[in-house]
Amino acid sequence: MNDLNVGGDRPRPYRGAVDCDVQITVPHRDALLPYLDEYWRDVSLQRGLQTLDTAAFPRQAPINARPDWRLPEPASVRDQLRSLQVNLLDRYGFSAAICNCLYGVQLLHSEDMGQSIARALNDWIAREWLDNEPRLRASIVVPMQNPTMAAEEIRRVATDRRFVQVLMLVMGEMPLGKRYYWPIYEAAEECGLPVGIHAGSMYRHPVTGTGWPSYYAQDYFSQASAFQTQLTSLILEGVFGAFPTLRVVLSETGVSWLPPYLWRLDKYWHGLRSETPWVKVPPSEIVRSRVRLTTQPFDTPADPAVVERLLDHIGSDEMLLFASDFPHWRFDGDDLLPAGVSPDQIAHISRANPLATYPRLAEGVVP
């Protein structure tokens, strides 16, 4: 565990920040049993369901827990929460943190099972996390297996104002822009929630367009490519036109891929516009106004000059959302944002942008 002494003279530029991507983990299968209805509780036990940890985030892989944040497994909710408070919330004085729970609900093939476990998970998050720490907010986990069910779950959970976003995995069964998924966007927009797309896969397809890789490292790497293809899909399928107030947050994507990707997309749009005539403005404009990215991992070298140039290439101070990606091992020490981000940009990224992106944060977050 980390040194608990927070009274020293550490630089603390992040007071009041909103951490937009914090991972919480279901300690073991049985943690959700109290939240399942009788039938699914029985199924879990009688069929011997295992934990639904996904291969996208092997718990023991170094990249998935910063060494000084790593807890002995299975880590109880209490231990995880305490670590979060000590290492982040209290230490830096964050005003809020948004929890994303990446449990393999979406990987199940049965729509009904996916739905029941998603419900249990959301109730578990509300009861065991949000009730115990007023600074926490959470994303609604949805059964992507069936967009209608997912929309129902959004409407059910959204009545709890502490849920501030809808959570999807970046790799589903079909590209996320397809009309198949539109009920999800409709519900999210109706509830005033951004859709957070997070690294992760339903594993209906290999994680790359070129087949199954040998190493976890490539699986992890490929998540960044997946965001690129999904952003293309969302734009070209016309999601942003059909849902004019919808915002999309890309979480744990890496950031540095964005500018060259947009250059390419704008260029192809010029030649292929007639294929998707509902895309009426350059894709980069759509992205700048409607898409946000969380800042860890950032995927740049430590050189502040590179970061500065990259921010210039992004061309907007409004696109980035502050995130620690706790407990994943994205950075060491206290450098929550890469060197090269100016104080003014920090203010945008850590506070103004999250508050603008998540309207519900304004309710009850300590200024």
Partner: protein, 136 residues
Amino acid sequence: MAYHVVAAIEDMPPGSRRVIEVNGRAVAVFNVEGEFYALLNRCPHQGADLCNGLLTVAVTSTEPGIYDFDPSRNVIRCPWHAWEFDVRTGKSWCEPNRVKVRSFKTEVRSGKLIEGPYVAETFPVKTDGTYVLVEA
């Protein structure tokens, strides 16, 4: 500026096009269903000859899945990168009003302002009953 004779009208039936040289510049002239239009024969993007492009329709849409095909919205689609330009105005269908002065020079040529980076230069065309005339 003066009008230049391009062709006899009967030599340019509807659907035809030809390239003429006016003051050292190549100009593509199109007869679109009896209306004549002239564009600088040079795509503002990477310089392809627009006269080799496809004269077609700019499809529009009110929502995804709807393709609104109005044959009066003629565009020339560049033979290389398929960028679309309104045959009347020369404006890029994608970004008609984009003038990004920060990184692109605008320039004045033959007394005519070229609007922003992606506008194909157009020329007035008229007919006098016998000939097609382009002003340049």
